[in-house]
Symmetry: C2
Subunit: 337 residues, 2 copies
DNA sequence: TATTAGCAGTCAATCAAACAGAGTGCTAAA
DNA sequence: TTTAGCACTCTGTTTGATTGACTGCTAATA
């Protein structure tokens, strides 16, 4: 347990470093943050903080920077939750309108978070959803519109271009058959379910169904749909990326996404998960933090918004923003009911 | 007009520089490309080529690099069109399947081009298309699916979540009204047209129509839809971007897009447009080239695929790839008919 | 006359040495 | 227990010297 003075010093180091990105020296702290201690005292304390792993020293004659453990202590014990500025609140309210389907909403959310926090934002939508019903609409002789409705209220649709014309009767019959066969199927397994049906029971319609299948495969792409929305230019301006190799690594990490995905997947039980730097198992991620918020509607878990950043970031603002947005999203969902 | 020897030397400089990214010296050319001239002769010729503006010398004791004029001469007169490798051809054939609507197809095309050429690729879809008909389908008490079909065969749909329930009769009537009022409207003006109708003629349905309108605004976002698909990590590996400022500029240029858009818009009359470096009016683009291919189906112009790159790039491969893909796309369109 | 060999000259890139500045740890005094 | 003072360490920047690639020019050669 840290004593009061150490806490104050640690908090000052973290907060100064978050904005300056430069190692923080004892004099800076004594001057800027009106602590009642002399630089020498602060130096002694900083040394102790380093020895117990909360601070690091890039080299012997430099100031200190927070370690992952230091950030963790700050986040858990010292951080004061900031209120969002009116500017940010207005921006959020204007850009998250709640129009469209769940996917549209998630995209809006990702864009907004990314803009406000200036960090790449990854969206995970879980499809634990099951099929409620399928409607088939004949748009023209050779074109069908297949509408897929899930119990959660998500609506997706697929356009199937046929090779031959199809009579109205068949469309009606097909619609019935699909509904009786597929109702209750988990959305993410729809493609597989449909494929196996084609070969077994519904051979008559196989050519039509294959077209529909193709569409479903394309539109409902598997389990976790990940969208990364970002504002790369401003991120590359972070001093962390003045070394172009680091910048490339970061971009690479984001686009292969595997490592990040694993971390995000593990964050389950809590509403808000924060994984800081070396807390990540993957070494690749040792300098980065991931902050992830679970989104739920009344029926339960729907997905996550996750922010990926160098571990030097404004944790307080990030958390406030995510929480505010979570409320907003919950609100939209409850209105829909 | 350049004599034969100058042509050979210019071609060698361009081709060597394209792969090496290092200024090319007289000895390199004499050794690697089996030209029958001594380094001294080549030196003299290179000096003349520089004086007439085809080559540039970064500093007095370095080799030469092609100027924009040099690339232009190469592209117009010297370039031998390369055949695509089997690898590339297979990749293209596998990834451009032609499934889905025009927009899906365009996305496939952009991804493919971007992968093969390792460059950001921008897609422009022109909506000169006009409305053929609108269908409205009632999905549940409070949810309508509005299907918008254009004469070009593109189908879009919008989900409108209503605040109140709507009777079946009204849906039918609304559908009729919209069709008579909007048929023939250019797709890109649909939103405006609908908005003005709401206030004038169809006041009874205004609350429903506003919801639909909202959706249309969101889904059919204006005139030119631009999608940029890219593979940023590998692009940042280009030696052009070893200076991080250049990298940021490039990314910035791509995301603001204004400058690039203007160039692309101007390329109209030809099937294939190549604008090299300083040929661009915008100074921002003086080190970049844009290669843009017009795509048409039987009814005419549909859109463009444009590749943006530092002006050092494999023009021959780029052109071959775009042409091959153009054929592929034309093929898909004619099959659809 | 056209080409080429040879050589002096230029410049970028690299490396080491010198120097300034920021910040520490330790000691001794308050 | 806290603080002032000082020697020390390390980074970052500047300066100068060195190396190497390549040119332009001159004079010799085919």
């Amino acid at each position: 347990m840290l004593d009061d003075r150490k806490k104050k010093i640690l908090a000052s180091v973290v907060e100064d470093y978050i904005t300056s990105a430069e190692p923080v020296g004892s004099k800076t702290i004594a001057d800027k943050y009106n602590l009642e201690y002399s630089p020498a005292t602060i130096r002694n304390e900083m040394k102790l903080l380093e020895e117990s792993g909360y601070l690091e020293q890039p080299h012997v004659s430099s100031g200190r920077i927070p370690s992952s453990k230091g950030y963790r202590y700050y986040v858990d014990n010292l951080m004061i939750s900031k209120k969002l500025s009116m500017l940010d609140i207005n921006y959020i309210n204007n850009s998250i309108t709640g129009y469209g389907n769940t996917e549209d909403l998630f995209e809006q959310v990702a864009d907004t978070v990314s803009k406000i926090l200036d960090r790449p934002t990854i969206l995970t939508m879980k499809n634990e959803d099951v099929l409620e019903s399928i409607k088939i609409l004949k748009i023209s002789d050779k074109i069908l519109l297949v509408i897929i409705m899930s119990e959660n209220g998500t609506i997706k649709d697929v356009i199937a271009k046929l090779t031959d014309t199809i009579p109205d009767d068949s469309v009606r019959e097909l619609s019935k058959l699909l509904n009786t066969n597929l109702q209750g199927t988990p959305i993410e397994k729809l493609y597989n379910a449909l494929s196996s049906i084609i070969s077994k029971e519904l051979k008559v319609y196989s050519s039509v169904l294959e077209k529909i299948c193709e569409g479903i495969k394309y539109e409902i792409s598997g389990e976790n749909k990940l969208i990364s929305s970002n504002n790369l230019e401003s991120i590359l301006n972070l001093p962390e990326f003045s070394d172009i190799e680091k910048a490339k690594n970061f971009i690479n990490m984001l686009s292969t996404k595997n490592a990040v995905d694993t971390v995000i997947d593990k964050i389950q039980n809590k509403e808000l998960g924060i994984v800081i730097g070396s807390e990540n198992e993957e070494i690749m991620l040792k300098d980065y933090s991931i902050i992830s918020l679970n989104i739920a509607n009344d029926d339960g878990y729907i997905g996550k918004i996750s922010v990926v950043s160098p571990k030097r970031l404004d944790y307080s603002k990030t958390v406030s923003t995510l929480k505010y947005i979570n409320d907003k999203v919950k609100n939209i969902f409850s209105k829909d009911k």
